[in-house]
């Protein structure tokens, strides 16, 4: 049971657990669709314009069934994409409410309903993350007012409820925030390019445990894999650098999030 050697660092993007979030129609699903052996577990419509393998998921039971089949391994897929994880969480909530014959999570009292949902959500995501496939979780973005010890400011975060968001953030290797970046040409005209932000900021959530990615990268899967597959820099370990304070001039403020 006990290991005799250390596990090597994951080299393949399709081995990682990734959270991709951003405003509607920015290209999150398109980006994910280019991953190696992509299979979409589509919990909401929106993939019509994409030529992809997809399983429509209408309930948590259907998600569990699909996961069971994926775990059997009799398929060619290498990356599982839950699009969106927000809807999957709602399905998990409905599943628990039905199971315990309640109308609302709060009906069980003392936060028990919420705890049951989060435990089930955590259990399934952990199991999926341990499967030998990449796991991409897609979420929308929302602006959240953060009340800190020194004041309030707005931050862009995935649309998941607070506790579910903390579960997902703690589980993933990469948090990629899809954003628009203003670019001004020589004539002073401003245009926007679609980018992914990979490092944490007071203004949005992002993160890169592999340490391979630049702070900002085009929202283009081929460019992303090119950078990711370059000889690795030292990966992040233990306690990382502190976040600079809001208003720090080094932090690029993003375009406000779409719903």
């Amino acid at each position: 049971m006990l290991p005799t050697k250390t596990t090597p660092q994951k080299q393949n993007l399709a081995d990682l657990t990734v959270l991709v979030y951003g405003r509607s129609k920015i290209g999150k699903s398109t980006w994910c669709s280019h991953s190696d052996g992509a299979l979409f577990l589509a919990t909401e419509p929106g993939l019509n314009a994409l030529d992809v393998y997809q399983v429509p998921i209408r309930s948590w039971d259907e998600l569990l069934t699909a996961c069971g089949e994926i775990a059997e391994g009799k398929h060619p897929f290498k990356t599982v994409i839950i699009d969106t994880i927000d809807n999957a969480y709602r399905m998990c909530s409905d599943y628990i409410c039905t199971k315990f014959k309640i109308e609302h999570e709060s009906d069980l009292g003392y936060g028990k309903g919420w705890a049951l949902i989060n435990n089930e959500f955590h259990r399934v995501l952990t199991k999926m993350a341990f499967m030998p496939y990449g796991l991409f979780l897609v979420s929308h973005s929302v602006e959240k007012e953060i009340e800190t010890r020194t004041g309030k400011y707005t931050r862009i975060v995935p649309t998941l409820p607070d506790k579910a968001r903390k579960i997902v953030v703690g589980m993933v290797d990469l948090i990629l925030y899809c954003d628009l970046e203003a670019v001004t040409d020589e004539e002073g005209k401003t245009s926007y390019r679609r980018v992914m932000r990979t490092k944490p900021s007071p203004h949005y959530e992002a993160g890169d445990r592999t340490g391979r990615l630049p702070e900002t990268i085009d929202l283009d899967f081929s460019k992303f894999t090119e950078v990711f597959n370059r000889p690795a820099a030292a990966p992040k370990a233990g306690v990382s650098r502190p976040i600079s304070a809001p208003g720090d001039s080094r932090d690029k403020k993003p375009v406000p999030a779409g719903k």
Partner: protein, 338 residues
Amino acid sequence: MGATTTTTYSMWSLFRNCRKACEWRYIHDLVPLEQDHNLAFGTVIHQCLEVWHGNGNLESVLDRIDRTYPNRNQDYAQKRDWHLAVAMMKGYASRYATEEFDVVSLEKTFDGKIINPATGASSRSFVLAGRVDGIVRTGDEHYLLEHKTASQVDADYLERLWTDFQIVLYSRYVEQVLGIRIAGVLYNILVKARLQQGRGENEAEYQARRAALIAKSKTRKTSAKRKLPESDDAFQERLAAKYAEPGMFHREMLYISRDRFETLQAELWELTQAFLDARRRGVFYQNTAFCFHYRRPCAYFPLCRSDGSPNVIDNLYRKVPPHEELRDEASVNEASTF
């Protein structure tokens, strides 16, 4: 941490409850990005009480509250806290218009040595610092004044005051450092009213309620009218009536046993030795019984659950130097996490 490290009761208490949480806070300097609402409100009331016991002027207290919640007309949470703070302090000023004690000192900070009870030698690694809400005199005796805000005061709450490790420890140090003999502690407890300002109902909510009442009525009629939002004045009146009730403020005077001093001194020394050992070996283990100690997750629960994921640290926490409670007015908003 340097050669002689300043420590506080909060640190030792956290170390005793969960070493892992203590490591996150006092070795890695991490605090949750988002402020705990209850602690923030308690800090505001502490500031108000400092002003009230300092000058006895209610106007300056209310002005302080107004300045603390500048966006109350746009922000529901600020307005709720503003209402509660105003009613609480008006009620307090009315209840304790005259006091039976004289204020000797307010928000007094101190620091002192930690002594090895076996040898009498002081620690070369740690000193203990703290801040007491006040020192008051009644007759010939001095007491520590300790403010507390609570959601309710029941028998368990009052029983627990006897186990307050912090205040006994602070009494000891105040005696040593300031040369004042402390006879006991005056706990000054303010209860948070659970009243909510009526938000009224919109037309759709009213029609739905009306339809439900008609469906239940044998005559198929109802005299129900649409509920309008409760005005600020009406809500303040309701809160004032609540704060006129005897149970909303409570004072408990406890005398300190001299024997307890020696026991706590020895316990504190043991904690310092255990901390040094944990730091030397780099082992701060988790006490999972503490994860939901206050019926809510510990501030570091997401961090422990993710095995210290850098993504969690970077996105949900920030670095703040320890012992915020010792800092002056400029940073008083930065209340301790625990």
